[in-house]
């Protein structure tokens, strides 16, 4: 009943808007621009949040990393011996659950990674999928807190060494499930052979999930390879440690003290030498975080500004039409009629803005995709959700002025102001 009465009013509303073309157009334009900008901004926020909440596949709360530089003049054999001794002592430090040495660590994000493109055949011409290598041993899986979904862990006697200029040719490797699916889609990768630059190697285990050191590739962040070796680089090595407790300060201090007992072998930077995974995550996603926050704040302000504008212009219209409202009231219109009139009018204007805005939003998205490379197509439900929000916002914004209009007494009609 109320609805049909509202519909019956549409014609006079449209007629009335025709007399305020510019003001109507301004609100339509504003709603359209708001929808275009806010839906794109919020879409970017959502994409960033999805991006930065991806798990590394590790027990981040308990892991910290020590960057251990070697003093000059040590050869590969000495470094390998150092690593073995260090790991033995580190694993015995109270509060340390497990430890291993590697090159880079998840969320390192500073270019410290070794990559490989495993091939399926030795003479394959096409490039294999991009994957990141971790030097690993039999303690790696337990230290990281990830788990095998198939196959077995390395054995202590399988751990060899490799250096910065070596072509890696391990007898066996453990890879993540996402890489396994890329190499062997639809079949089990376990026990299959792939080819590294240094020769063939067998997949002996498959990990549930483990991110590589960089987190900015489009689709390969989770494609990691564990190679059973100590990384012997005269520059240094990373020690990854898993603590029992989340408060890692005492464990870090104890671990550093243990290492400093043989301090002339190594250089650990007092400021940047130790990184917890929590810090690494914060640093690796700092840009995404600030982007999401900025976009969020501006979108919020934008919606507020639009609401403010609607309130302002509606109040103006109400004050301009006091006389007409009075006449309508004295001719029998109820307060409900007046309320509905303004809500319906707002609905009409906002709808106009939304139609234009959805079009604009899609155009803006296409434009942004050209400039900002890793931005996907915006699904249509994003601007539609934005539209819903704007309808709601419009109705809410006009609520005050409409109520004010409904309170206009009929007697205004015969009073001269």
């Amino acid at each position: 009943m109320a609805l049909t009465r509202t519909f019956m009013q549409l014609r006079p509303i449209v007629a009335a808007l025709g007399r305020h073309k510019v003001a109507t157009l301004l609100i339509v334009l504003q709603v359209a621009l708001t929808l275009a900008v806010a839906s794109n901004a919020l879409f970017i926020v959502a994409m960033r949040i999805v991006h930065l909440s991806r798990p590394t596949g590790t027990d981040e709360a308990h892991i910290f990393v020590i960057r251990n530089g070697w003093t000059i003049g040590q050869n590969a054999t000495q470094i390998d011996a150092n690593i073995r001794t260090d790991l033995d002592t580190l694993r015995r430090v109270p509060g340390v659950q497990d430890a291993f040495s590697s090159y880079g660590y998840p969320l390192a994000g500073d270019g410290s990674y070794i990559s490989v493109r495993p091939k399926l055949k030795p003479d394959q011409k096409a490039r294999g999928p991009f994957a990141m290598i971790y030097a690993a041993d039999e303690h790696t899986i337990n230290t990281l807190g990830t788990s095998l979904v198939a196959g077995r862990n390395f054995r202590p006697d399988e751990i060899t060494t490799f250096g910065p200029n070596d072509k890696i040719s391990p007898p066996g490797i453990i890879i993540t499930r996402s890489l396994a699916d890329k190499l062997f889609p639809g079949e089990s990768a376990l026990s299959k052979t792939v080819y590294f630059p240094g020769g063939p190697t067998r997949i002996m285990g498959i990990l549930a999930n483990l991110q590589g050191p960089i987190n900015i590739t489009r689709s390969s962040d989770g494609d990691s390879v564990l190679v059973p070796a100590h990384y012997v680089d005269p520059d240094g090595v990373w020690y990854l440690l898993r603590a029992d407790a989340t408060d890692m300060k005492p464990v870090i201090a104890a671990a550093l003290k243990t290492l400093q007992a043989r301090g002339d072998l190594r250089i650990i930077d007092p400021k940047t030498g130790v990184v917890t995974m929590v810090q690494a995550r914060e640093r690796a996603y700092a840009t995404d975080h600030s982007l999401a926050m900025l976009m969020g704040i501006i979108s919020g302000l934008l919606l507020l500004a639009t609401a403010g504008g609607i309130v302002g212009l509606s109040s103006f219209w109400v004050s301009q039409r006091r006389r007409q409202i009075g006449i309508r009231r004295s001719l029998g219109a109820t307060t409900g009629d007046i309320l509905r009139y303004f809500h319906a009018e707002n609905f009409l204007i906002v709808s106009g803005g939304i139609t234009l805005g959805i079009l604009l939003a899609i155009l803006v998205n296409l434009g942004l995709m050209k400039v900002f490379f890793p931005l996907p197509h915006m699904p249509l439900y994003v601007p539609l959700l934005g539209a819903l929000l704007l309808w709601l916002l419009g109705q809410l914004a006009v609520w005050g002025p409409a109520r004010y209009a409904a309170k206009v007494p009929p007697v205004v009609a015969i009073r001269t102001e």
Partner: protein
Amino acid sequence: MWGYYVALALRSSARSKALTALVIVLLGFGVSACMVSYAVFRATTSDPLPAKSSRLYVPQVDNFGPSHIWQNEPPPTLSYTDAMALWKAHKASRQTVLYPAAWQVDSDDGLTPAMSMNGDAVTADFFAMFDVPFRFGSGWTANDDVQRATVVVISRRLNDKLFGEQNSVGQTIRLDGHIFRIAGVLEDWNPKPRFFDLGTSDNTGFDDAGDIYIPFTRGIAMRKDSTTYNGCPTESGVYDTSRWDARLTSECAWVDAWVELATPADVTRYREFLRNYAGQQQHLGRFSWAPNVRLRNLMDWMAYLEVTPRASNLSMLVSASFLLIVLVNVVGLMLARFMRRAPEIGIRRALGASRAAIYRQFLIEGATMGFAGGLVGVALTLLSLWGAGGLFEPKIARLVHADASLIALTVLLAVAATVVSALYPTWRAAQTQPAWQIKIN
């Protein structure tokens, strides 16, 4: 008359407080969003060497070939072969080649524990080209470059740490165990962006400058590796040259090069030289493609490498659209405000005010509101910049600052934007028919 119009504006603002406050607050938010983004943008695109940047150029030579480069752009760095050829050719008034390296530093007295520190291997011209300020001593000579001298220029920070702010020129330190004579100590020098080794570096442009500078030739003689990624025209994109000699003769690109060219004629001449050089290499059979060279000056170089964080570009774009939307809003609100005063305008016109007078009055009213909005904007901008640490990543946030020009610009933008948005409402106000307005009442 102007003062009178401002007074009128204030009086009419007092009559419609809510509407006025709305306009001012909206303006404040719109302008401050723009200014905060601009402050970040300004900090990240600032010219690190305003006095010289137009004379500093980065030469690029495509030694990878069409199948190993992206969008026909030569690699950002040079191979050792090309770097040496360009450096030795001396076709520019100054030239330097460099690469970043990390060192184990021991003081000669053995009191300070060994430290790992970063720096660059550079040539003698480096210091003069980039206006590097010295606290003590100076750089080394071109002869030292030729002699592969074991000299070093250290940062003030390292000098303070090892020598306690004393003049250490002539003293020695050990780098990777080798004794180097200190030739100079720098003043605090930390150009932002860190432009000089952008091509090679993992450095995104906002890392601090290093502490150690040694001759490029000495670095090569010591077989000192670059700390960063080497692009190679191989299938995997990484170098497979485990031997140092093979590495120097390989086509892997890992050396940054700079030339100083004073006049446009010099630039043209150098570009011609580069093209000839590449042509010669093609003739010799080293390149199987036509010469593909670039010569970009410092600012173009930073733009090409997209030093400005993408977040900064995007926030600039979004806040500009925010301001645009606010202005559309303000047009509507001004329209409401001015139309409400049709009777007043009618009376003024009837009493002899010209259209021009109405224009002046309402544009000044717009400007007054814009000024108030600008003040709110300044307050909000300062507040946001103060909180920038929470919004931007630390190494960007600490570059961002407010200064007099930013504040002036904020107010100016607010006033200009409001006057522009008041144009249409003012025009409408000036169209008011005096007779019509007087008749109604």
